[in-house]
Symmetry: C2
């Protein structure tokens, strides 16, 4: 298999972007990435999108999006695994270049979530859980993660402050990210006193509803060298699944799909978890960031919360997490999130992170972890600066 690199990245505007449609958002991110990479064509593209059918009544994205990019005829595939759709798009593009079939492939992600009302958005998001055994009976995503949080607190003594510190740290990072939906700082008190959504999760434990797109251009290393710009290498990719139903899990306090995906990605990269210097992980809720870093093997189960309170996950900590602001502050257009994680890692590894967000010490090796639903699927990548 050939070495595959990321040679350019692009974002659309993120937030409640009422004056732009799904196709507009995607086109903005895609053309920004093409311009940044300096490529004169694409061989194909993969777009991650969870539910354009329910959110905007549009399936068949391959056809719509290539047309609006001005690239009619281009080979294009939409991939979906709920909130892990973006990570899968990157993985699929990686495989196509690794195979030798293509040299330059775009991986993008998009979700347009604010064209429906709150009830409809809650229903659409809930289709990432088990419709027959969870959603039909009233489960929503805050409810599912609240149950995981209660189980984690009961088993390991995880505290309110441990949850709150995730939100405070991510908003601090996001306050320096010009692409963030909510680029402002919050305090521990504000999180704890914010409105309760599903006990023990307050609204400031939850990532928001977001319109947005992100895109990265992948290329063979031959092409990457010719382009003459900074690039990073994808050393490893891994994906795994688990039962979609919480009730069927072996353990509600761990994300087995993330364990599988991280194990595969690290094996492929020939690295160990402690080689990784920083990570973008899937903090759809504050408890998720804690469970994920334990599930990928960075912390012993039940120990991540203490480490977070001690500042290890901060920008200047031993293992910075979500320097972008994460889903919590940057926003969470579900199909785009996994691709936006790559955008942040590209910026950090090539020293292009804005303002005070650059991780000190010029780190060389990073991980992204993207997750579907309540952990029914996960996609992990290991990336190194060239």
């Amino acid at each position: 298999m050939r070495t595959v690199c990321i040679v350019g990245v692009g974002m659309s505007k993120w937030g409640e972007v009422w004056r732009m449609s799904l196709r507009d958002l995607h086109t903005q991110a895609a053309l920004n990435a093409v311009k940044a990479a300096g490529v004169d064509h694409l061989d194909s593209m993969y777009v991650g999108c969870m539910s354009s059918g329910l959110f905007v009544g549009q399936e068949h994205l391959a056809s719509v999006l290539t047309d609006y990019m001005g690239m009619r005829g281009l080979a294009a595939t939409r991939v979906e695994s709920a909130c892990a759709s973006g990570g899968l798009a990157v993985r699929s593009a990686f495989i196509e270049i690794a195979s030798g079939m293509s040299d330059i492939v775009m991986a993008s992600g998009v979700e347009k979530m604010t064209d429906v009302d709150g009830d409809e958005a809650t229903y659409a998001l809930a289709t990432a859980a088990d419709q027959e055994y969870e959603v039909f009976h009233g489960a929503t995503f805050p409810g599912l993660y609240a149950m995981m949080a209660v189980a984690h607190m009961e088993k390991y003594g995880t505290t309110r402050d441990m949850l709150s510190t995730v939100a405070v740290k991510n908003h601090n990072n996001g306050s320096m990210n010009p692409d963030a939906q909510y680029p402002f700082k919050i305090s521990m008190e504000q999180v704890a006193n914010s409105v309760m959504i599903a006990d023990p999760l307050h609204i400031l434990d939850c990532s928001p509803i977001t319109d947005g797109a992100a895109a990265v251009i992948l290329a063979s290393e031959d092409v990457a060298k010719k382009l003459g710009k900074p690039y990073i290498k994808i050393l490893g990719t891994g994906t795994g699944t688990d039962t979609i139903q919480l009730a069927q899990r072996e353990d509600m306090t761990t994300i087995k799909a993330a364990t599988i995906a991280a194990g595969k990605a690290l094996d492929m990269a020939g690295k160990k978890i402690d080689d990784i210097q920083f990570a973008e992980v899937h903090d759809c809720f504050t408890i998720a960031e804690i469970m994920v870093v334990e599930s990928i093997g960075k912390y012993v189960p039940g120990k991540a919360g203490e480490a977070f309170l001690a500042g290890e996950s901060a920008l200047d900590g031993a293992f910075p997490i979500n320097s972008s602001g994460g889903l919590k502050s940057k926003g969470h257009p579900v199909g785009a999130t996994g691709v936006a994680q790559m955008v942040e890692v590209y910026k950090q590894l090539t020293g292009q992170a804005e303002k005070g967000r650059q991780i000190p010490g010029a780190p060389k090796l990073a991980m992204t972890q993207n997750m579907g639903g309540s952990g029914g699927s996960s996609v992990v990548h290991v990336l190194e600066v060239a």
Copy 2:
């Protein structure tokens, strides 16, 4: 890139299958394929599905389907390009094996369409057209294909009998297919006198609404040889897009995405269209079969209808088309259709087609053509018996 083979195939029950859910249908087809291939594991899977979100309120299929197959943890990706989703699943599985990343990958497709009422199904299917510029204004799929039929009739003198002969021939073939939803013969008179749906298309010009799934097991040639069963090789794969809007097309009487896809697949296979001995093509409406075989270069534009009337596309004709019964008689569970085309080609090339449906002369080389919506995307494969 490594040679990739199809080593086993499986189907679920097709039709109005009210006692089975989407996950049940998919599991049935998947396990049938695994059993037929005789493999003891899968390295990953790709499932094509157009709109499980709108039809059954369930996205995140990777997680649900691997679990119900008894394969929790398996790497899994859903791909979507409307009615071409199944073809893309096969293409994605092909690329993963060709790259050397995996040895045994399942490509499957599924759609559960009868859990919603007719209006909801019409809306869900219409999301394969342009929501903003076509669907919002009232366009439905029979309406879009009717416009293409009128344009083709006007430009080339295509007749009612030419359309009818597609339906009659496909129902004749399907009457010998135990997996077909409508396994009975119809007459030219019945087509012409059936109820009008969108002038000039009568109901017997249209493929039906279907619940169903199909699966094929792809493997490297090393694995295929070890399994010791009949297998076929995928010599070429191609995919292409076009603008989703009919009004924006260069020509409404041709399917440019199919032209692009067929050209790429034939180039990769090192074959010419006239080398192909039979084909499964996307006859969602009778006019589609005519337009497709012209678009892939088998017939000069405007000449396919005459050839069909002369019997060339019949089982014993010079170029048999849709020996399975096609979408018209076999059924059209949209995400499954592209995979079911592979099932038929596998059976024909390995001499396992049921009853009197086997194409005479033991053909060695075949093509499948799968199409999204009104032709906004297309996936073509060239296959040869090993």
